[in-house]
C-alpha cells in the first residue's frame, strides 16, 4: 500500500501515482511497485516512500588503513527479521581507493544509488534494482571537478525529477569552502553548476544579514513552495584535516559556514541568504501539506534552527533550541525527522548520544529522550513508521575518534516511543569492512516484477480503474 502521507507533499492524488507509473513504463521499466515501500524519512519527495519493512540497508563505508582491503565499499546488511541472514552483512562491493566516502542518495526512480567521495570527487553509481540484495557498481563519474568548473567534494546526492542535485563542499582553486550545487542527469551526464551566492556575485539573492560565504553542505526541497534550501559546512582543507589539528588552528576555524540559502526550485536561482552561524549541516523538511518549514542544526554552536516561511511569505531562520551542553561541543551531526513531523532525532558525535526532540511546536522543540549509542555516533536513519532506528558511527576519516576512543558500528534498534531496544549490532572494524557512514534502505518489493502477460498499456488501464 502506498501511504497517503507519501504524496501529500506534492498535493498528488491517485492520479499522480498513476502518472508516475505511466512515466516509469514509458521509459521501458518492466518493474512496477506492487506494494507500498518503506524508507527513512529524510529522502527526496520525488520518489516512492515505504510504510512497511525494509529488507536491506546499504551502508556507504570508508576504507580505513589497517582494516580489511582498506578501501571504500558499499556494504549490504539484511534488515528484514524474516530474512535468515537478518542483521548480517550479505554483500560488500569495494570500489577502489579511500575517496572519503560520505553521503549517498537514490535517483528518483530508486533504481540507482549515487555515492560520493568528498576527497577524490568520484561519484559511484550502484545498480540497486537488478538484485536489491546484491548491488553492483554500474558507473563511476570521475570528471565531476572538470565538468562542474572546479567544484570539489560531492556531498548530498539528492533526487530531482530525472536529475540528481549534488551539493559541493569545496573547490579546486584553494580547497576552501566556496562551492556550488552541481546537477547531473540520472544517466550521469553533467547538466549545470549553480554557484552559491557570494558577496561579489549574489546572483540575485538578498543578503539578509551579515553573511554570504558561498559555502555548501546539504540540499533539500519543498516543491509545494517552489523552494530549495542549502546549508554550509567547510572546505576540503578543514573536512579532510585531523580534527584536533583543526580546532588548534585559529585561522582554519574561521573557515566554517554560517549561512542557509533559500533558492527558487524551478529556476535554481538563489533568493535569500540567511545567517545561521556555527556550521549548519543536515536539513530536514516537514512532510505535512501545510507545514512550510525545515530544520537544521549547527555543529559548532549546538543549536537547532528553524527555517520557516512567515505569514508574509518570507523565509526566515530562527534559533529555536539548544542541543546538550554547548560548552562541551557535543557536535550535532545527523538529524532525522519523523513522518508525522512530531519528532526530530539529533545525534551528537562527541558524546555518542542520540536525542529525541518533540517538535510538534516547531518554534519550541523540547528534548524528550536521550541515550548513549556508542563512543561516537554520526548517522541516524528511521523507518517511515518510526519504529526502527539505525545508527552508524563514522563522521569523517580524520575527524573520527582515534585508538581506544573509537568504535565503528551499525547498530539497529526498535523504538516504542519510550525506549530503544537493540536488535542487532555489527562491528565494522572487526568485520574487516571499515568505517560506516550513510545508510540507505532497500526493498525487494520496490522492484517486484510486473505480470509478464500484461502489456504496459494494460497495466496502466488496470490502475486507472
Amino acid at each position: 500500500m502506498i501511504s497517503k502521507e507519501t504524496f501529500t507533499q506534492f498535493g498528488k492524488t491517485l492520479k499522480g501515482v498513476m502518472l508516475g507509473s505511466a512515466v516509469a513504463l514509458s521509459i521501458g521499466i518492466t518493474a512496477l511497485p506492487q506494494q507500498a515501500q518503506a524508507d527513512e524519512t529524510c529522502m527526496s519527495p520525488y520518489m516512492a516512500k515505504i510504510v512497511g519493512q525494509e529488507d536491506y540497508i546499504y551502508v556507504w563505508t570508508l576504507g580505513a588503513v589497517g582494516v580489511g582491503d582498506e578501501q571504500d565499499k558499499l556494504v549490504t546488511v539484511a534488515a528484514n527479521p524474516k530474512d535468515k541472514n537478518y542483521g548480517k552483512v550479505i554483500n560488500s562491493i569495494s570500489v577502489g581507493g579511500r575517496n572519503e566516502a560520505h553521503h549517498s542518495g537514490f535517483t528518483d526512480d530508486r533504481k540507482y544509488l549515487w555515492a560520493g567521495g568528498l576527497d577524490t570527487n568520484k561519484i559511484f553509481i550502484f545498480d540497486v534494482h537488478t538484485n536489491p540484495s546484491k548491488p553492483t557498481l554500474h558507473k563511476t563519474i570521475e570528471n565531476f571537478v572538470a565538468d562542474s568548473g572546479g567544484v570539489v567534494g560531492p556531498h548530498t546526492t539528492y533526487a530531482m525529477p530525472g536529475t540528481m542535485m549534488i551539493s559541493g563542499l569545496s573547490n579546486n582553486k584553494d580547497h576552501g569552502g566556496r562551492t556550488a550545487l552541481v546537477e547531473y542527469t540520472n544517466a550521469g551526464d553533467f547538466v549545470a553548476t549553480h554557484w552559491m551566492p557570494t558577496d561579489e556575485n549574489l546572483n540575485g539573492a538578498k543578503k539578509s544579514g551579515q553573511f554570504a560565504d558561498g559555502y555548501g553542505y546539504d540540499v533539500r526541497v519543498l516543491p509545494r513552495r517552489n523552494m530549495m534550501v542549502t546549508s554550509s559546512f567547510t572546505g576540503w582543507n578543514n573536512y579532510m584535516m585531523d580534527f584536533g589539528k583543526l580546532v588548534g588552528d585559529a585561522e582554519a576555524m574561521k573557515r566554517m559556514g554560517n549561512t542557509v540559502v533559500i533558492w527558487d526550485l524551478h529556476t535554481k536561482q538563489p533568493k535569500k541568504v540567511l545567517d545561521v552561524p556555527g556550521a549548519p549541516l543536515e536539513i530536514r523538511c516537514a512532510w505535512g501539506a501545510d507545514k512550510n518549514y525545515c530544520f537544521t542544526t549547527t555543529a559548532l554552536t549546538s543549536r537547532i534552527w528553524l527555517i520557516y516561511e512567515d505569514d508574509k511569505g518570507e523565509w526566515q531562520a530562527k534559533d529555536v533550541a539548544a542541543i546538550g551542553d554547548a560548552s562541551k561541543i557535543p557536535l550535532p551531526v545527523d538529524i532525522s525527522i519523523s513522518s508525522d513531523d512530531n519528532t526530530l532525532w539529533v545525534n551528537t558525535f562527541m558524546d555518542g548520544k542520540t536525542r529525541s526532540f518533540d517538535i510538534s511546536n516547531p518554534h519550541a522543540p523540547k528534548q524528550v529522550f536521550e541515550q548513549q549509542i556508542g563512543k561516537q555516533v554520526n548517522m541516524v536513519s528511521s523507518s517511515w513508521d518510526g519504529k526502527r532506528l539505525y545508527y552508524t558511527s563514522s563522521l569523517l576519516a580524520n575527524w573520527d575518534k582515534k585508538g581506544e576512543n573509537q568504535d565503528q558500528y551499525l547498530r539497529a534498534f526498535d523504538w516504542d516511543g519510550k525506549k530503544l531496544t537493540s536488535t542487532f549490532d555489527i562491528d565494522f572494524v572487526k568485520a574487516g569492512l571499515g568505517f560506516p557512514h550513510q545508510m540507505r534502505f532497500g526493498s525487494n518489493a520496490l522492484y517486484a516484477k510486473a505480470p509478464t502477460s500484461k502489456s504496459a498499456d494494460a497495466i496502466i488501464a488496470s490502475l486507472s480503474k
Binding site: G97, R98, N99, E100, D119, T120, N121, E142, N143, V145, A146, G149, G150, N172, K173, D174, H175, G176, R178, W195, T198, D199, E200, N201, Q210, A212, D213, G214, N237, Y239, M240, M241, D242, F243, G244, K245, V247, D249, A250, E251, A252, M253, K254, R255, M256, N258, G278, A279, T298, L300, T301, S327, K328, I329, M350, N398, W399, K401, K402, N405
Partner: protein, 410 residues
Amino acid sequence: MTSLNSFAAGEISNTQIPQLHGAGDDKTGYETKYYTTKSKALTTRVGKKTDLLSLIKQPPLGLPNVPIPANNPISVEKIALGRKLFYDRRLSLNSTFSCAMCHVPEQGFTHNELATAVGLEGRSGRRNSPTLFNIAYAEKLFHDGREDTLEQQVWGPLLAHNEMGNPSPGVVLRKIRTLNDYNGLFENVFNKPVNMETLGMALATYQRSLNSANSPFDQWYFGHNDAAVTPSVKRGFKLFRGKANCIACHTVNNDSAVFTDHKLHNTGHGFSVSTYQRPKKQRLLVAPGQYIEIDSDLFDSVSEKKPNDVGLYEITEDPADRWKYKTPTLRNISLTAPYMHDGAFKTLEEVVNFYNHGGTPNEELDPLIKPLGLTPNEIQDILAFLNSLTGSNVDELIADGFAAPVGDTQ
C-alpha cells in the same frame, strides 16, 4: 603535439590588472560580532598570462640576477610546461593535489588559511607552506634547508606521504606519459621524454620565474625615489639595520636585497613549541564573534598526536642544530601570513614582538637573538618598513596563476 597556450583557464581582457592578492574568502574581523563576509566569486577568478621569461632575464628593481643552473637554461616553453605541471592536480597519487593547492597564488603563493599544511587524504604536515615568491634566490630549500636546488626539491612534495603521496618517481612519470595533454611537451622542450630530471627542470624553471620586487622600499632605497615611502618606513629601515639589527640575518646588499642570509638559526620559537605545556582551558572560536571556553583535553579523543619538530637537527643529528630553521625572505612578507616555520604567528606584529622580547631562551639560542628594547612607536615603524616590501608585480604574477590551466581528471 598539444599546445600549452590552449589551456588557459580564462583571461581578463583589460590591460590593467586588478588587485588580486589576498584570500578570496576574506575572514578579517571574524573574531568580532560585527564581522561581515567579503567573499569573492570563484567564477570571476580569471587571470591574464604574463611574460614570465622577462622576470627571469630582467628581475624587478631590487633583485639581483637570477641564478640559473648551467644545465637547465630557461625558455618560454620550459616555463609554460613547468606552469602547467605546477597547477596539475593529477600529479598526486589520487589526483586531488597540485603544488598550487598549498602554494595558492592569491595567498602569497603560500597558504594564508592554514598554520601548517594538509596533504593527500588530509594527512598532517608539520610546517607552514613557504612562499614561492623569489624562491629562485634560495640557496637552501625547505624550512630545515635539507635540499639545495629547485630541480631536486620538487621531488620532495611529490613523494612525501603527507603531501602529494606518490609512492615512487615511476608512478608519477608513468602517469604523465598516459595523459594526452602532455603529448610531445617534454620532447619539445628537452628533446627527450619526461623523466626525473626533466620533470624537476620544468617545475624549477616555472618557480624560478616568480620574481617580485620593485616595491616601495626598492623604489626608494635602490631607485632613489625619496617620495616612494613614508618617513615611518625610512625610520623602520633605520631600526632594521640599526637598533633591531634584523639585517644581520635578513641581508641587504648595496644594489639588491633578498633579505636572507641563507642560513639557519635557533630563535627559540621551535624550542618553545617542542616544550610547550598547554593550559587547562582554551577559548575556541565557533562562529563570528562567538567563543566557547573549553577544556583543552576536550578534543584529545579526535586528535592525532602532534609530531615533534627539532629543525635542522633532524638532518644533521648534531645537537648544536636543534630547533634551527632557515631565515625566510622578507619580500612580500605582508602577503604570506601566517609566520614562522609552523605558522604560529598570525601577524607581523606578533613576530616583531617575539624578537623584541629576545626570542625564547634555550641552550642553542642564536647569539644574534636578544631583547631589542623597541618602543611601541619603533615597532610600528618596523612594521611600516616590512609592509613596504610588497612587489609592484604581485598581482601580475597572481593573474598569471589564475590564467593557468588547473589539471583535473577529464
